[in-house]
């Protein structure tokens, strides 16, 4: 049992009212209160206090609805701010904004919580990027330019330049010889390979069923002579050599024309038209000098002796140039395109450089 003092007497009093104080302690408490009359008064006041009296007082929290509404307002304002509010909730929000005091202020404060994107840029962006092969020009042009560049550097620079003739000279020669009733085909055909001393002979193969002329270039010069022929005889077999006369661009040009086993109707060479072939009892196809040169250019380009028209599109030209480059230089050069259902792949290889490009067809 503890001794009752001024520091612990409340605990004894409380135990007494709760009925847990022992008989001995009760005696001690009475004696203690007798000694301290002020505390004895307190003791009786304490005893009179009956808390059960308070239970009859009705407690009603009047702001319950307001609290609920404020909580609802918070949710709806945030939903509205986040852009996920439904129509029903939006209607309810408008109602609450009218009912709840300071609701508009709350809405404004919520609006201020939206973070504004700071104007920050990453300073080393260019370092992050992975550089590939930069092709600044449009793809086709750049590819063609590269290949042509290689051809110019590696191919033709080591070879002697052949003497070339301008297109207008072809016409002149053709017309002139046409007047002289000589097939102009020979002059036009090898024009780009003719040098000053070139000898060009033309063997017209007239085998039945074949309409492809054969051409041959000989590089031995021949003395310049004048052709001899009977212009009055329109149909004649020519086995002699025709040498271009002085009207050709260069006086020293020696052009040898041999036409074998061919019945040439010289009257057909009119208006700069010439026959590509003549097979007996078959029709004669006429073609202009310009058309003829275009055909020959295609044949050369594609190493194709057929006279069938081939599309001179960019793919074919680049492929042909690449092939030529591959043949004439030590560098491996390939160019190819392949098509799948939805994609088109282009492949270029120049030595170690290799480039693939796939795009939607």
């Amino acid at each position: 049992m503890k001794k009752i003092t001024l520091h612990n007497y409340e605990a004894f009093m409380l135990d007494h009212f709760e009925g847990t104080l022992s008989y001995k302690d009760k005696k001690e408490l009475v004696l203690f209160l007798e000694k301290h009359p002020r505390l004895k008064e307190e003791f009786y006041e304490f005893e009179m206090l009956d808390l059960s009296d308070f239970e009859t007082i009705p407690f009603v929290f009047e702001n319950k609805e307001e609290i609920k509404q404020k909580a609802e307002l918070d949710v709806l304002l945030i939903e509205h701010l986040e852009g996920i509010i439904s129509k029903t909730n939006k209607k309810r929000l408008n109602e609450l904004l009218k009912v709840i005091p300071n609701a508009i202020q709350e809405q404004n404060n919520y609006r201020k919580t939206i973070l504004t994107k700071p104007n920050v840029t990453f300073p080393k962006k260019s370092k992050l990027k992975k550089r590939g092969i930069v092709i600044p020009m449009q793809f086709w042009y750049s590819a063609a330019a590269a290949i042509i560049g290689f051809i110019v550097i590696f191919d033709f620079s080591t070879k002697p330049q052949p003497q070339t003739y301008q297109a207008n000279s072809i016409t002149t020669i053709s017309e002139r010889i046409a007047l002289q009733k000589v097939p102009t085909i020979i002059l036009s055909e090898h024009l780009d390979n003719v040098s000053k001393d070139s000898l060009i002979s033309n063997n017209w193969s007239t085998k039945k069923g074949s309409n492809k002329p054969e051409y041959r270039i000989q590089n031995n010069p021949l003395p310049k002579t004048n052709p001899t022929r009977d212009t009055n005889n329109k149909t004649q077999e020519i086995n002699t050599n025709f040498i271009a006369n002085n009207n050709t661009e260069t006086k020293n040009d020696s052009l040898n024309i041999t036409q074998q086993n061919l019945h040439t109707d010289l009257s057909l060479i009119k208006n700069n038209k010439l026959q590509t072939a003549k097979v007996e009892n078959q029709g004669i196809k006429e073609i202009s000098v310009k058309e003829f040169l275009q055909l020959k250019a295609k044949e050369k380009l594609f190493k194709d002796n057929t006279t069938e028209s081939k599309d001179l599109n960019s793919n074919n030209i680049i492929a042909s140039l690449a092939n030529k480059l591959n043949n004439n230089t030590k560098t491996e050069v390939t160019y190819s395109t392949s098509k799948k259902e939805k994609t088109k792949t282009t492949h270029i290889k120049i030595g170690k450089f290799e480039y693939y490009r796939t795009k939607k067809a």
Binding site: K112, T113, T121, F122, L128
Partner: protein, 160 residues
């Protein structure tokens, strides 16, 4: 994903990623390092990352990297960084600065979620993917963040 798409993603997302990192860790050098690390990882995994999901990949990787760095830095920071008492005379230049201060006081998840939402315009689902949270959790997180910020702004206005 190919090289072109990778470079596009640098153009599109490097700034946003840097902004997110800079605001999250508050150090330019660290933020730049993380962005570079993340793009380096992306380049290494270029064949496996889907170009359509690259943004999510970048932000997730950056967030993870940032958490790792913070964990590593924590013991050091307690020793080396001196705590400074908040300055009551501190002048705020504008409301944005006040808000940023308030955001910095938010719990880490709330901070990241609200930044991803407001800076990058991410959906709840995307934020959930980055922060490894359920969509419903993201909503609650952002809700709490906004409420805290609103109360903070409200209390400042009362003071002012």
């Amino acid at each position: 994903m190919n090289r072109k798409e990778y470079n596009n993603s640098v153009d599109l997302y490097a700034d946003g990623l840097y902004r997110f990192m800079l605001k999250s860790i508050g150090n330019e050098n660290d933020a730049q390092d993380i962005v570079q690390d993340v793009f380096l990882k992306l380049w290494e995994k270029i064949d496996t990352v889907n170009a359509e999901k690259v943004k999510s990949y970048l932000f997730t990787a950056a967030y993870r990297t940032m958490l790792d760095r913070i964990k590593k830095m924590k013991p050091l920071s307690t020793e080396t960084v001196a705590y400074t008492e908040p300055n009551h005379h501190e002048q705020y230049s504008d409301a944005g600065e006040i808000l940023n201060k308030a955001v910095n006081n938010l719990p880490e998840k709330q901070r990241s979620a609200i930044r991803l939402r407001d800076y990058e315009g991410y959906s709840y689902q995307e934020i959930g993917e980055i922060l490894k949270m359920k969509e419903s959790q993201v909503k609650i997180t952002i809700f709490r963040a906004r409420k805290t910020l609103k109360n903070y702004i409200g209390s400042l206005e009362v003071l002012i």
